[in-house]
C-alpha cells in the first residue's frame, strides 16, 4: 500500500533517521517485539482499563524504548526497561483513571458444551477486573508483574520505582486488598 502523505525522499529520510537514532536494527526489533508486544499490551490494558489508551501507549512505549540511550546487560534488563517505560507512561496518563472493563471479557462466550465453564471463567475475569479497578495504579502494576509475569521483587521495584526492601510489604498489602475486595463482592 502506498503512503500518500510521505514522499519517497521523506521515507528514505525516516529510515536514515531510524538507523541513526534507534538503539537496535529493524530485524532485532522485530524479534524483540514479537516476544514482548502482547505482554506489554495486556499490562497496559490492565493498568489503564482502556484498550484504546493501551494501543496508544503501546506505540509510545516502543518509540521511547527505541530512542533510549541505554546499554542493556541482558534480555531481562531490556524487557524490564520496556516495562518500566510502560509503567511510567501509565502513571503519566492519569487523566482518565480506570475506565470500563474491556468488552472482550464478556463478549466471546462459546455456544458449546463448555459454555458453562467458559462463562464461569469469563465471570471470574470480569470480577477480577472490577476488583483491580479499586486498587491504586501502583498496586495493580505490582500485582500484575509479580503474579501474572512472575517477576522478582528486584525487577518489580525497578519497574515501579520503589525500594526493593519495601516491595514485600507493599505486595502483601496489595494482595490483601485485592482479595478483600473480591471477598467483599462475594467473588471468591
Amino acid at each position: 500500500m502506498r503512503d500518500i502523505t510521505l514522499t519517497d525522499m521523506e521515507r528514505l529520510g525516516a529510515l536514515d533517521e531510524a538507523d541513526r537514532t534507534f538503539q537496535m536494527t529493524e530485524e532485532a526489533f522485530r524479534t524483540f517485539y514479537e516476544l514482548t508486544a502482547r505482554p506489554v499490551r495486556v499490562y497496559l490494558a490492565r493498568l489503564t482499563g482502556d484498550d484504546r489508551i493501551a494501543d496508544d501507549l503501546l506505540q509510545e512505549t516502543y518509540y521511547r524504548f527505541l530512542r533510549a540511550n541505554v546499554k542493556f546487560d541482558s534480555d531481562e534488563h531490556r524487557r524490564n526497561y520496556l516495562f518500566r517505560i510502560a509503567t511510567n507512561l501509565v502513571h503519566d496518563h492519569r487523566r482518565k483513571p480506570f475506565l470500563e472493563v474491556p468488552a472482550t471479557v464478556i463478549a466471546d462466550l462459546p455456544d458449546s458444551a463448555t459454555a458453562a465453564q467458559s462463562a464461569e471463567r469469563a465471570a471470574r475475569r470480569l470480577d477480577l477486573h472490577r476488583a483491580m479497578k479499586q486498587l491504586k495504579p501502583r498496586e495493580r502494576s505490582m500485582l500484575w508483574l509479580a503474579y501474572a509475569q512472575g517477576w522478582s521483587h528486584e525487577e518489580i521495584a525497578g519497574a515501579v520505582g520503589v525500594k526493593t526492601s519495601s516491595m514485600k510489604q507493599m505486595l502483601h498489602r496489595a494482595r490483601q486488598r485485592l482479595l478483600a475486595v473480591m471477598h467483599r463482592g462475594g467473588r471468591l
Partner: protein
Amino acid sequence: MTHLRQGDGGQAACDCPNETAVVNAVLSGSWPHGCDEALVAHAQHCLTCSEVASVSILLREDSEHSRIEAHVPAAGQVWWRAAVRARLESTHAAARPMTWMHGITAAIVAGVVLAALTAIFPVLPSAFNTAWTFARELLPNPEIATAIGDGLRLSLFVGLGAAVLMLLAPLALYFVLRED
C-alpha cells in the same frame, strides 16, 4: 522440597520463603497437581502462600486469555511509525536554531526602529514649527496656515505609526504562527 516452613504464628504474615516457588508453580501451569505435594500441603496451612496461590491463579488465567485476545499492530508498522516520528522530531530539532536566529533578528530590527524613532523624535517639533512658520508666511490667511500645519503634523504621526505597524506586524504574525 522437604523443609517447607509451615505458616505458624511466629512467621510474619507477608514473609514466606516458599512464595516464589508457589508463584513459579502456578505460572508454569503445574499447580496444584503437577508440582511438589509438600508445597501444596504447605500452602494449605500458610496464609501467605495460600494468598499468593489464589492471586496468582486469578492473574495467570486473566493474563493468558488476554494475551490470546490482545490485538497488537505488526512489528513493521510500529517500527515505521517510530521512524517517521523520529524523523519529524529531528527536523523540528534542526529548525530550532533557525527560530532562535529569527528571534534575534526581530529583536535587532525592533531595536533599530526604536533607535531611529528616538533620534528623529527631538527634531520633529522644530521641523514642524519651521514648516508651520514657512506655511504661514506663504499663505496670507493665518487660519488656513494653522489648519494645514496641524494636518501635516497629524499625517506625519499617522505615517510613522503605519510604518512601525507594517514593520512589526509580519514579525508578530511570524512568532504567533510559527508553531503551525
